[in-house]
């Protein structure tokens, strides 16, 4: 059985995994699950607390909060996951080339990465969004750049260790070329730790996306995102606290689940030591 499934057998992995599956399914099948539209306003019905019709109440436009929370999962998860995927891809290319080719390329990459790595992601993202402009695309790019350093660093370190291993030496002596070695032997072996840390980073990215949304920089209305909903809710905090409470809980629980599942996965893959070296 493959590791992601084995991780589900651990108790915390199971609970966390189930929640994640639930959230992802909700996001995927949002139109089927929700009896309301996320954007149709019903102004006389605004600020309703939880009831049988609206399980989580309604927002300032009388829209069903649960519906928006589910659609919001779509935005928040897809933005964070896409951003991290871009980041992982670019980070692996950069990190692997730096480690493999060495020399000035390595020096430049290492220096840049070290510089940005110590900078808080939120600052990098804020400045990038200021350059690119607000909206989903801007936020996506900003998040992927903010996490680029992390994956470059990790991949580079993985490749550096693997480079000296005997099986690589063996393949090389058999006449394997750079590309073959890199893509057939090195990257597949470096993949597991990178993917696990990508998963954990997705959790951080969800928080980052929410924070940018709080500053009004994420998805533009009426499209809901968890951060955007909290941003609107922050102005209504004493009148309709549920508008801000539920999206915040959704973020927190989802990120906890990602972390717990990630921990289970790390244990299953037995890659703790390989990750820690770079923490």
């Amino acid at each position: 059985m493959i590791a992601p499934l084995r991780a589900l057998r651990r108790p915390q992995g199971a609970v966390a995994g189930l929640w994640l599956i639930l959230v992802i399914c909700a996001a995927l099948f949002a139109p089927l699950l929700t009896p309301y539209a996320y954007d149709i306003q019903n102004l006389p019905n605004a600020y309703q607390p939880a009831s049988a019709q609206h399980w989580l109440g309604t927002d300032e436009f009388g829209r069903d909060l649960l519906t928006r929370l589910i659609y919001g999962a779509r935005t928040s998860l897809s933005v964070s996951a896409t951003a991290i995927s871009i980041s992982v891809f670019c980070g692996m290319v950069l990190g692997a080339s730096a480690a493999w080719f060495g020399g000035w390329l390595d020096r430049i990459v290492t220096m840049t990465v070290d510089l940005t790595w110590s900078f808080p992601e939120i600052l990098i993202a804020l400045i990038l969004v200021a350059i690119i402009g607000p909206g989903t695309t801007g936020v996506m790019i900003a998040i992927s750049v903010a996490y680029l350093a992390q994956f470059t660093r990790l991949t580079r370190a993985q490749i550096m260790t693997l480079k000296g291993e005997t099986f690589i030496e063996a393949a090389r002596s058999l006449g394997a070329g750079n590309a073959h070695l890199l893509f057939r032997h090195l990257l597949p072996n470096a993949l597991a730790p990178v993917l696990v840390s990508a998963m954990l980073a997705t959790g951080d990215a969800i928080i980052l996306e929410a924070t940018l949304g709080f500053f009004g920089l994420g998805a533009q209305p009426p499209v809901p995102s968890w951060g955007g909903m909290m941003s609107a809710g922050s102005a209504l905090v004493f009148k309709a606290p549920w508008v801000i409470i539920f999206p915040g809980l959704a973020v927190a629980i989802t990120v906890v689940a990602i972390n717990l599942y990630g921990d289970a996965l790390i244990a299953e893959l037995d890659i703790r030591s390989r990750l820690r070296r770079e923490a």
Binding site: D39, I40, Q41, L43, P44, A46, E60, F61, P134, G135, G216, Q220, P221, P222, S231, A232, S234, A235, L236, V237, F238, K239
Partner: protein, 527 residues
């Protein structure tokens, strides 16, 4: 035992005394939360600033004051007279007035001050533009020689932008005037100013020349005023509720219900000076077609917005001006009111047919437009309702949110199609400011440039010999602009303030158009 008992009694009485003195001190102080749209004003320099906050009106007096009924009354000027042809004005100045730095206020200072408008770069020169020169007749009499009749002169002289500054320190301090130091004749002096955070004012003990609408002509009753700048209305409200501030200088309509729920809080309302509206860029397709403009304007359901977004407080707007202004009384046909049937018919006529998904189409193109707004929460909320109302007639509007200071730069690009905005002004010349062809982009967000409007505008701005003529000319100009649909009026709020009844006592009636110096002179802090 006894020793420790005596000690603790002593300690208790000491701390009690400290507590009492702290209370006595607190009684002399009041904390205000600045209106959120005044947050971040960078300077207290009325000649250069484009934005001035409420505290500015306490640092500087004006020659003329205005009552709630918009009539003009003496302040630093005791009396005045306009020549029959409108080409000169004579002002008698109050005696015994001094600036905060001890300099006397007299005819020479008025002359020097008015000259600053001509020599200082800034947006406010137009305020004194019609004054060609100032003659000093005697120590306390000045004569303004006009380049043209200016029926609006008294209004300008009563504006905060024409607060009388002390000319010597103004010259000496340069860019620091209004930032580190500032000297006027007002009832309060500047103690400290930290931009975007707070301003502390202390009472001007020599002040005795308050405007006649105030019961107390000075000095003011409260010793120290702290103005805090809190960027979010909800935070400011929570501060009021929890006693962190005593007075909110603006309460958005949607929060008034919350204020009224609290036993110790009270709301004070005064006639509003704001209009919320949706500018329509007349140069950008599809809005270069007047039918589409009219349709978009008439798709806005003002009554629904008033009820749902603003909790029924205030009034709908159906012209560009607040209804207190006589120039707002245009013919009924020119007023812009919600009419979905007309909006739909106009769009059909213009060739935009309803598509399957509720969005109109023409030649395969969907009727999709941009709708810009500011990031403040009330703007975002209103804009989302406007978006839904436009959708109801088949116009799909895509919202883009900008920071309130960035959005000006964006308007200058001329790329906007629709936007949600508000302005605060109580004079008809605001029509010139927002629709004059020489200010395309910003403030003329609608990019409105119409030869007939320009003619009417010139007549209104510079061709009026007296107030009656000015009103007629501005009404005609305003009415014509409305019929071209460069914007849709939405809402006019009241000025609402909230305060802690246990801490603040206000006079029964505040006879002024806004909460300014007159109100602050009578304001008391309860013991």
């Amino acid at each position: 035992m006894t020793v420790s008992f005596r000690k603790s009694v002593l300690a208790a009485s000491v701390s009690l005394a400290a507590l009492l003195s702290a209370q006595a001190l607190a009684a002399q102080e009041a904390v205000f939360a600045m209106s959120t749209n005044e947050v971040g004003a960078p300077t207290y320099n009325p000649i250069k600033a484009t934005m001035l906050n409420t505290a500015t009106g306490l640092l500087f007096d004006r020659l003329v004051s205005q009552a709630a009924d918009l009539s003009y009354h003496p302040w630093l000027a005791e009396s005045w007279e306009e020549a029959p042809d409108g080409m000169s004005w004579t002002f008698k100045l109050k005696q015994g007035v001094t600036f905060h730095n001890g300099e006397p206020f007299n005819a020479e200072t008025v002359k020097a001050w008015l000259e600053l408008f001509k020599t200082t770069e800034g947006e406010n020169a137009y305020m004194a533009e019609a004054i060609a020169s100032v003659e000093v007749l005697d120590d306390h009499t000045v004569k303004f020689v006009m380049s043209r009749p200016e029926p609006n002169l008294l209004y300008n002289l009563s504006s905060t932008f024409m607060g009388v500054v002390e000319p010597k320190s103004f010259a000496a301090l340069g860019d620091n005037y209004g930032v580190t130091e500032v000297y006027g004749t007002g009832p309060y002096k500047l103690e400290s100013f930290s931009i975007g955070q707070e301003t502390v004012l202390v009472r001007n003990e020599d002040y005795t020349w308050g405007p006649e609408m105030a019961k107390n002509h000075g000095p003011a009753k409260v010793e120290r005023l702290t103005f805090r700048e809190i960027p979010e209305d909800s935070t400011a409200f929570l501060e009021l509720k929890t006693g962190g501030v005593d007075f909110l200088l603006s309460v958005p309509a949607d929060l008034m219900g919350e204020v009224q729920k609290e036993a110790n809080l009270a709301v004070l309302t005064m006639a509003g000076q704001d209009v919320w509206y949706m500018p329509i860029n007349v140069t950008k397709a599809p809005f270069d077609d007047i039918r589409v403009r009219e349709a978009a304007a008439k798709a806005i359901n003002q009554e629904e917005i008033l009820a749902a977004v603003f909790g029924g407080v205030g009034a709908v707007a159906d012209t560009f001006l607040i209804s207190a202004l006589p120039e707002s009384h245009v013919s009924d046909g020119a007023k812009i009111k919600y009419d979905p049937a007309r909006a739909n018919a106009l769009l059909d006529e213009a060739g935009w047919v309803m598509g399957a998904n509720g969005v109109r189409e023409k030649d395969g193109q969907p009727l999709k437009v941009s709708l810009w707004t500011q990031s403040d929460s009330i703007f975002r909320r209103l804009t989302e309702v406007v978006q839904a109302q436009l959708k109801a007639v088949g116009i799909e509007a895509e919202i883009t949110t900008f920071d309130s200071s960035t959005i000006r730069d964006q308007y200058k690009t001329g790329e906007q199609q629709l936007a949600v905005r508000s302005y605060n002004w109580d004079n008809a010349d605001i029509v010139d400011w927002f629709f004059g062809a020489d200010r395309l982009g910003y403030p003329n967000v609608s990019m409105f440039n119409d030869p007939k409007a320009e003619e009417l505008r010139a007549a209104a701005m510079t061709g009026s010999k007296n107030m009656e003529e000015r009103i007629a000319n501005f009404t005609a100009y305003h009415e014509y602009v409305l019929t071209q649909f460069p914007m849709a009026p939405i809402y006019q709020p009241v000025q609402a303030m909230a305060y802690n009844k246990d801490r603040i006592a206000l006079p029964e009636k505040i006879d002024a158009p806004s909460f300014g110096a007159a109100a602050f002179l009578d304001l008391e802090v309860k013991e």
